[in-house]
């Protein structure tokens, strides 16, 4: 069977328990929402292939248990991740404050150049809001990462969030390839090179 995609991106969702990581993922992968979700134990992942600038990109998105206690198992997945979504709940101040700790976790366990993004979820609950959009934006600026407020329930900007992260990873990857192979024949290299030289784990991606 031929490969049905050009790139495989491995993404990771982290954040406090109950902020809606699984729901965000479910919204993105199945375009559905379920109020009877159970807490994530261990790890799970979902796949969705998206189209970006004519390239098929398979997103393998890992969902982790939120409770800090389980970090021994979840941090094992930080290493291979190319992009990390930091999720908090705009109706829960604490989950926002904990973003700092999650960032520290990333710094300790993930590769240095991993793409990060901040998601303020449950933005449909405006009347219960505890964390203003401005604070979210400010924190994102502080860490030099992008920020989007989403709602998995109301399906607000979830697509946008994942597409943005995927686009950033793609851009970074292509830039890196260009840097390591200075262009000779103009833009021709750009299109052919990434397929020839996938990163190590890209090459052993399997068909699902």
């Amino acid at each position: 069977m031929a490969k049905t995609y050009d790139y495989l991106f491995k993404l990771l969702l982290i954040g406090d328990s109950g902020v809606g990581k699984t729901c965000v993922l479910f919204r993105f992968s199945e375009d559905a929402f379920n109020t009877t979700f159970i807490s994530t134990i261990g790890i799970d992942f979902k796949i969705r292939t998206i189209d970006l600038d004519g390239k098929k990109i398979k997103l393998q998105i890992w969902d982790t248990a939120g409770q800090e206690r389980f970090r021994t198992i979840t941090t094992a997945y930080y290493r291979g991740a190319m992009g990390i979504m930091l999720v908090y709940d705009i109706t829960n101040e604490k989950s926002f404050e904990n973003i700092k700790n999650w960032i520290r976790n990333i710094e300790e366990n993930a590769s240095a150049d991993v793409e990060k993004m901040l998601l303020g979820n449950k933005c449909e609950l405006e009347e219960k809001r505890q964390v203003s959009k401005e604070r979210g934006e400010q924190l994102a600026i502080e860490y030099g990462i992008k920020f989007i407020e989403t709602s998995a329930k109301a399906s607000i900007r979830v697509e946008e969030a994942f597409f943005t992260l995927a686009r950033d990873i793609k851009a970074k990857m292509e830039k890196k390839l260009e840097a390591s192979n200075p262009p000779k024949g103009g833009h021709q290299l750009r299109t052919s090179e990434p397929q020839k030289k996938p990163t190590s784990w890209l090459s052993r991606c399997t068909l699902l």
Partner: protein, 816 residues
């Protein structure tokens, strides 16, 4: 002239490769010439004798009535004959001789000359592929394919594992210079229907009845040059001096080093006279064969000893059979086991449960025994007493944490109010927050939670009940400071007092009651829906002689609120005997350290988050009973604050609660369950042990799977089993199957293995092994596969297989 056709002669002469085939085949022609002979009875007799073990060749395999269809025009049907496998100094030879030549060769009356043409002789070094066609009905067929791609006549073995035996001998004979690829052993363990390990997958068990084909490649490991040199020695008939030494591989069993052992001491060659003591070479080979066999045996013994040392702890040494236990404990059986309310034959209870499970009606009664809550041999009265004690203890513990919860709620509310105030002040461009709101919020404890109740209360009742509740809590805070710095909202000590007069702040609140009510409505929308009514009841408990309490209780009970009912029941408020009880909070002095409040508050929030999303699709938790779950969980965490709440605990409480539908019994049994389960959670080391044991078990019981896992390095951390072990497979199965599985796990400890979960995990893997292997699944695929397969497993088949796997290991260990 009749000749015994050699392998080469049974195919067109043009396909012979005298030169290309290195090594042993170089002297094929000379070998042929020694076999080719006149068809005299004398020669024939010699020939037949050569089929037996003799000094020239070792007989590795012999079987009569093996059918071969000679490639001769005049033969239309396969003929029976004697198949033999010989090991000579020059390599392996397969011979097949028609029965007519084997029987009574002295009988001259019949002309058998024609049969010499049918006889087969195939040198194995000419063979590259061995095609095996297995048919469970008719036996098996082996077709040898040469390097030229030409097939030798099919050799058909009768039923009864003869083909397998032949292939085994062939594989052994090839060692150490050659081997079968893939190795026969793993093929056999994986696919042969005659072996003990039957595949449980329905799709596969069907194919067991049909035919199967495999292809083995014969691979030559030997060093090319080595062999050429040796050939030279033999072909030139150069004799080695008697001091020629043959290096025997003395210790190593690896094929690499043992292949070297065949090289002769080359140093002596230049000095040696031209004749070779072929006998010496043959002797050395014999020694080689014997030593190889010895080392093979030694390796096997070591392997078994490893199994015994490392895995014997995983199963009980005593094998208990499941005779008459397939039905498990039925109502009928239970009347036999439980005589006058006393169960003494605990062995039988465990055995029946392990092999057949417990019927659903009896689970409530038997599970406490299995979990160690009830003692075997206890009387009905003793158990009743225990139930009573359990209930009492549970209620006491609960009232302790409910008091703390009340404080936590208040603090939460303040924090939330702060956050909201901060947010509104931000959005209103720095407009200061009205002081009144701050004060109200900091003092309102249950405003949001009781709103629903209040709606149906009379105004008087409302005030009374609120007052009574508010009076019980003294919350010391410096409001001005709070305004300036939200961090200062932290208070060192929070005191609960049973004396309402000692609370100056309560009068402040009353003044602002109306204000607060209006605002609290707004705030309701901001604040999480929480179940706190229990807490309020507990605190009202403090005022044992006050009329407001009775009124409040009446009002509450009229509400017909299930959570309140539960609370009243569990607190014994409804029973007159408990009416005079003093709040444990006050008896403890009612003083809680800041740290304790913080810790418990954190746990409380986590518990609530998980209770709200625990199995809501299952009828029991769809709308009701969440409070019960929460209470059990909180009580456990309160008693084990050092452990704290960890995600997954709710999943473990839930099936117990569904079965017992009784909080205190669920709590007691959960505590027993957690004695074992806690080690699986983070900070325990059971999970790593499970992973290590899984690896060893797979290595021993399914070599082929192990190979694949080994090939994918990332496989080895076994994280796909994480959830299985953490929750005793609770998330993998539907509720009714969880019940079945759990009781077997509990009983297994006494009957077969205290690590039964490992065998369940192995059974799950084995059930889908063909899917996993044929798709070459890597670690991520497996995680995804099993996450998607959750709640779709055939639990009876898996339990059965798991029991079989335990038995298999028990036999392996016992079989010395």
């Amino acid at each position: 002239m009749h000749r015994i056709s050699s392998g080469g002669h049974s195919t067109p002469p043009s396909v012979r490769r005298p030169i290309l085939n290195f090594g042993r085949s170089l002297n094929t022609s000379s070998e042929d010439s020694t076999i080719s002979r006149n068809n005299s009875p004398h020669i024939a007799k010699d020939y037949v004798e050569s089929l037996h073990q003799n000094s020239r060749a070792a007989l590795l395999f012999g079987k009569n009535n093996v059918h071969v269809m000679p490639l001769k025009a005049e033969v239309t049907e396969p003929m029976p004959g004697y198949l033999s496998l010989h090991q000579t100094p020059s390599g392996l030879t397969i011979k097949w001789t028609p029965n007519q030549l084997m029987n009574g060769f002295s009988d001259e009356s019949q002309d058998k000359s024609v049969y010499w043409d049918f006889a087969l002789q195939v040198r194995l070094d000419e063979i590259v592929y061995v095609h095996c066609h297995q048919d469970s009905e008719a036996g098996g067929t082996v077709i040898l394919v040469g390097q030229d791609g030409v097939q030798r006549p099919p050799i058909h073995f009768p039923k009864g594992g003869h083909m397998l035996a032949f292939l085994s001998c062939l594989e052994t004979g090839l060692l150490p210079r050659g081997r079968l690829d893939p190795p026969l052993w793993s093929q056999r363990s994986g696919t042969n229907s005659n072996t003990r390990r039957r595949r449980p997958l329905p799709a596969l068990s069907e194919t067991e009845e049909t035919t199967k084909d495999y292809v083995f490649r014969i691979i030559d490991n030997s060093d090319h040059k080595d062999i050429l040199k040796r050939k030279d020695l033999m072909d030139t008939k150069a004799s080695l001096p008697s001091r020629v030494r043959v290096q025997l591989c003395s210790t190593s069993t690896s094929s690499e080093s043992s292949s070297k052992s065949f090289s002769l001491d080359q140093q002596s060659v230049p000095d040696s006279p031209p004749s070779v003591y072929i006998q010496a070479v043959c002797d050395s080979m014999k020694k080689q064969i014997i030593s190889r066999a010895f080392y093979g045996w030694l390796a096997y013994c070591r392997h078994l000893s490893t199994v015994r040392t490392h895995l014997s702890g995983l199963v009980n040494s005593k094998i208990i059979n499941g005779d008459g236990a397939s039905e498990g404990i039925t109502l009928e059986k239970w009347t036999e086991l439980c005589i006058d309310g006393v169960v003494s034959d605990y062995g039988e209870v465990y055995r029946q449960t392990y092999f057949g499970g417990i019927c659903n009606e009896l689970r409530t009664e038997i599970w406490p025994y299995l979990l160690g809550h009830y003692k075997f041999g206890s009387t009905t009265e003793q158990r009743k007493e225990l139930d009573e004690e359990t209930k009492q203890a549970y209620e006491n513990t609960m009232s302790e944490w409910l008091a703390v919860e009340a404080i936590v709620r208040q603090r939460d509310k303040e924090d939330q109010a702060h956050a909201i105030a901060k947010l509104s002040s931000e959005s209103a461009s720095g407009e200061p927050v009205p002081k009144e709101i701050q004060r109200d919020l900091s003092n309102e404890v249950f405003e949001d939670e009781i709103t629903d109740d209040e709606d149906s209360m009379s105004e008087e009742e409302k005030i009374q009940s609120r007052k009574s509740r508010r009076n019980t809590i003294k919350y010391e805070s410096d409001e001005d400071q709070q305004l300036n710095d939200e961090d200062n909202a932290e208070i060192n000590l929070v005191q609960i007092s049973s004396d309402p007069e000692a609370l100056p702040s309560s009068s402040n609140c009353d003044k602002n009651d109306e204000d607060a009510e209006g605002r609290s409505q707004e705030l309701n929308d901001f604040i999480h829906n929480v179940i706190v009514t229990n807490a309020s009841l507990d605190i009202t408990n403090v005022e044992t002689d006050g009329a407001p309490v009775r009124n409040h209780l009446d009002a509450v009970t009229e509400e017909n609120n299930s959570s309140l009912d539960t609370c009243i029941e569990t607190h014994g408020l409804a029973s007159p005997g408990r009416s005079a009880c003093v709040s444990p909070a006050s008896s403890n002095g009612g003083i809680y350290s800041q740290e304790l409040l913080k810790t418990f508050g954190l746990n409380l929030h986590r518990i609530e988050k998980d209770v709200q999303r625990c199995d809501r699709n299952y009828w029991y938790f769809a709308n009701e009973n969440l409070d019960k779950l929460r209470n059990v969980m909180c009580t456990y965490v309160w008693e084990h604050l050092d452990i704290g709440y960890m995600q997954g605990m709710c999943d473990l409480v839930a099936p117990l609660l569904v079965t017992f539908d009784d909080e205190s019994l669920t709590y007691a049994c959960f505590c027993h369950l957690m004695e074992r389960m806690i080690e699986n959670f983070p900070n325990g080391n059971a999970m790593d042990c499970h992973f290590a044991n899984m690896r060893s078990l797979i290595q021993i019981l399914d070599a082929e799977m192990y190979e694949q896992m080994h090939a994918h390095g990332d496989y080895t951390h076994f994280y796909f089993c994480y959830r299985w072990f953490l929750l005793d497979f609770k998330r993998e199965l539907v509720y009714s199957d969880v019940f079945k599985t759990w009781e077997v796990i509990w009983a297994a400890q006494q009957v077969a293995s205290s690590h039964f979960v490992l065998f369940l995990a192995l059974a799950l893997l084995e059930t889908y092994r063909d899917i996993i292997l044929s798709n070459g699944m890597d670690f991520t695929d497996i995680i995804k596969f099993f996450n998607e397969m959750a709640e779709r497993h055939d639990v009876n088949a898996i339990l059965k297989l798991a029991r079989e796997l335990v038995l298999q290991l028990q036999i392996l260990i016992e079989n010395k």
